[in-house]
């Protein structure tokens, strides 16, 4: 008998949802996590460690990506150890969910049928999903309960069907500026939408409620309120004798025989020694880019182009979130400074009125205060136009920034259309210190994404101006946020143009599943995390039935 029923590569949202489901069904599960195991007590609000250095991500001299961008008429690869712009996101137990802000939105029914709803767009590989919203809905609800989502349902035109009337946790405490957003939005005829958050407003089991630390996004949570995969799904099953978590385990390849995975070969990143794990079934969930990389690097005579890749589809149609950010500055003219500068409280407002328009798929606008991070805030002040400020002028500007004003930001999320020029590949010329080719990420975005992003940014700017904000501006970018990754191993019915079947099982390898965001053929116009959790529960349930 094999020592494990299931070997899961990665421990983030998708991986942990599978593990949680299988452990509760009595299965023997091993998780291979590349990074360390940080618990609540290990996390602190240290801006240097968590925002300014590669501490919870690999040192870029040791492992990196190449970013392929279009430059002067051709595609050029640049290693991230040169740009210092890491595409790793939280390599610790629980993955990048430890460091998310937890803006939680479900996909809408029409997101599953984008091609049928809006038709084709030239240069974009839009398809309908292999499942519909109704299939995923029970799992979205499961996430609300088990990961924990706080909020209240806002009725509006595109509200998705729900099987429960409201969220299981009441809304988090809100900053008075939220009422100003409400007022301005209503004046403009928009519906202010209360943003659901994967943060507990009330204690549950061994997780404490949010303590409003004011240092949330990018930081690990010290109370367990944030719905990280670690706090919500792994810590409750840690004592189960059927669960094994191996940390510092970087999986180099999956080894296959007769089109079945026999074992995972991993290297201990501390000792550089190789080990093998055998199991009945393997689940890859290392975040989209790294999952595709692992399959592409797992070559064999049956799969000369990488595991489960005789279709050539592995790594293709990589997705990010399109859109961008905008800002507006507020001062004592909107409310007393003491109220404006009040720390820790959440804004929790979105605009979703244009999630769908008559002519095109739109997206979501989330409002949030600029992160507390003082180094980041202060260092941005050193440039004024093209001039570098220092001395007294800089000091005055920084002091005013911190004590007289507050910056409200908005983030625009819209679909990153899948294209032939956004994919993961591997290149023997670029290897990490373990001798494994790193992932090359070609980043080609569709011009339509910018059009939608700008349309949404104008709406958000209008709200900012109606509120009385100063210095309102926005930047919609064709360059992606590194932390919002999906696609690369599309699911679908046809093995010729998808990697996974509707259960997220590899078409070509029966005992191989992919359970992170890789399966998504289109990304929707929201952060992916809730959908990754929900699909992880769905895949876990499928595997549970299979193994029973």
């Amino acid at each position: 008998m094999k020592p494990y029923d299931v070997c899961i590569i990665g421990s983030g949202a998708g991986a942990s949802a599978v593990a949680h489901t299988l452990i509760n069904a009595g299965k023997r599960v091993v998780i291979l996590e590349r990074g360390d195991f940080y618990r609540e007590k290990d996390f602190s609000k240290d801006e240097i460690a968590y925002c300014k250095r590669d501490i919870v991500t690999p040192n870029l001299q040791e492992s990196y990506h190449t970013i392929e961008s279009f430059w002067q008429g051709k595609w050029v690869k640049t290693p991230t150890y040169i740009t210092e712009n890491s595409f790793f996101n939280g390599n610790v137990v629980g993955g990048s969910s430890n460091f998310m802000s937890g803006y939680f939105h479900r996909l809408k029914p029409k997101d599953f049928k984008l091609l049928s709803t809006y038709g084709a767009i030239k240069g974009a590989n839009i398809v309908d999903w292999a499942i519909d919203y109704e299939t995923l809905e029970p799992y979205y609800t499961q996430v609300e309960q088990q990961v924990g989502v706080s909020g209240s349902v806002t009725p509006y035109a595109h509200q998705e069907p729900r099987s429960t009337s409201d969220f299981p946790y009441p809304p988090l405490a809100e900053h008075p500026i939220s009422q100003h957003i409400d007022k301005a939005s209503k004046q403009l005829g928009f519906v202010p939408y209360r943003t659901p958050r994967a943060i507990l407003s009330q204690a549950h089991a061994k997780r404490d409620a949010c303590y409003y630390s004011n240092y949330c996004g990018s930081y690990g949570c010290s109370s367990g309120a944030k719905g990280s995969a670690r706090a919500a799904l792994l810590q409750p099953i840690l004592d189960d004798p059927n669960l094994t978590i191996i940390t510092h385990a970087f999986v180099k390849r999956l080894v296959e025989k007769n089109k079945e995975v026999t074992h995972a070969t991993y290297v201990d990143t501390r000792t550089h020694q190789e080990h093998a794990i055998t199991a009945t079934l393997f689940v890859v969930a290392a975040q989209a880019v790294e999952s595709s990389r692992l399959l592409l690097n797992s070559k064999s005579s049956n799969f000369p182009n990488g595991l489960a890749n005789n279709s050539g589809q592995v790594g293709k149609n990589l997705l990010f979130s399109a859109g961008g950010v905008g800002t507006g500055e507020f001062d004592a003219s909107i409310m007393p400074l003491g109220d404006l500068l009040q720390e820790g409280l959440f804004v929790n407002r979105s605009l979703c009125d244009w999630y769908f328009t008559d002519t095109m798929k739109g997206g979501v606008i989330d409002f949030l205060f600029e992160h507390a991070n003082p180094i980041s805030q202060a260092s941005k002040q050193r440039w004024e136009g093209g001039e570098l400020l220092w001395g007294e002028r800089l000091q005055e500007k920084i002091l005013r920034k911190f004590t007289q004003t507050r910056q409200l930001n908005f983030e625009v999320f819209n679909d990153w259309l899948p294209t032939d020029n956004c994919f993961v590949s591997v290149d023997e010329r670029y290897k990490d210190i373990y001798g494994v080719p790193v992932a090359n990420i070609r980043i080609g975005s569709h011009p339509h994404d910018l059009k939608v992003g700008r349309f949404l940014a104008q709406k958000a700017e209008a709200v900012m101006r109606a509120m009385g904000a100063k210095r309102v501006q926005s930047a919609i970018s064709p360059y992606p946020p590194a932390n919002l990754q999906a696609g690369g191993c599309r699911f679908g019915e046809d093995p010729k143009n998808s990697v996974l079947n509707p259960h997220c099982q590899a078409h070509e390898v029966n005992n191989l599943y992919v359970a992170d965001g890789s399966f998504m053929p289109t990304g929707g116009s929201v952060p992916f995390t809730w959908t990754i959790y929900a699909n992880g529960f769905r895949v876990g349930e499928h595997i549970r039935r299979l193994l029973t």
């Binding site: 290990d42 609000k45 240290d46 001299q61 930081y219 007294e392 002091l399 911190f402 004590t403």
Partner: protein, 168 residues
């Protein structure tokens, strides 16, 4: 890391005052040459002088901070190279920089930043000076929380008990 030793060459025990010395590996304490960090220290005082309320770079421990963080493997090694090379360039262009009055130093730095290299270097050094001002005091800057106090900033809790995200 292969590069660790070269990164530490310019760090000297003479610069490292106070408790943060305890954070450094023993080999770091051995002095090799002091000069680039002396120049950097002087420029930091121009970039962030004593203000009406603002603490000076020397008061909040800017050079001390740089010595501590640049000796850790998490520091971008190219940044340290750039910082040292720029300091040498400044002295080549302004040989008397260390003996100038603060006003003369400010003028000299303005002249130096006319070049792209000079501007990039000054911006990078200013960035690390602001890190020193507003990072957790565990790294040797923000001495007595002078940076946070100046800006009425309340840091998030818990504060780090160990630097560089080391687990407890």
């Amino acid at each position: 890391m292969k590069t660790t030793l070269t990164r530490r060459i310019f760090i000297t025990s003479g610069i490292l005052a106070g408790t943060s010395l305890l954070l450094l590996p023993k080999s770091t304490k051995k002095a090799m040459t002091i000069e680039p960090f002396k120049i950097i220290e002087a420029v930091q005082e121009v970039l962030f002088p004593k203000g009406l309320q603002a603490p000076a770079a020397s008061e909040f421990g800017a050079i001390n901070y740089l010595a501590v963080v640049s000796s850790d493997r998490s520091f971008v090694k190219n940044d340290l190279k750039l910082l040292k090379e720029g300091a040498k360039k400044l002295i080549e262009q302004e040989p008397h920089f260390l003996r100038m009055t603060p006003q003369e130093q400010d003028q000299a730095l303005r002249h130096f930043t006319q070049s792209k290299l000079g501007q990039n270097w000054t911006s990078l050094l200013l960035y690390y000076t602001l890190e020193a001002l507003l990072s957790d005091p565990i790294y040797g800057g923000n001495r007595d929380q002078k940076g946070w106090q100046w800006l009425h900033h309340h840091t998030g809790k818990p504060q780090p008990q160990k630097p560089f995200g080391v687990r407890l």
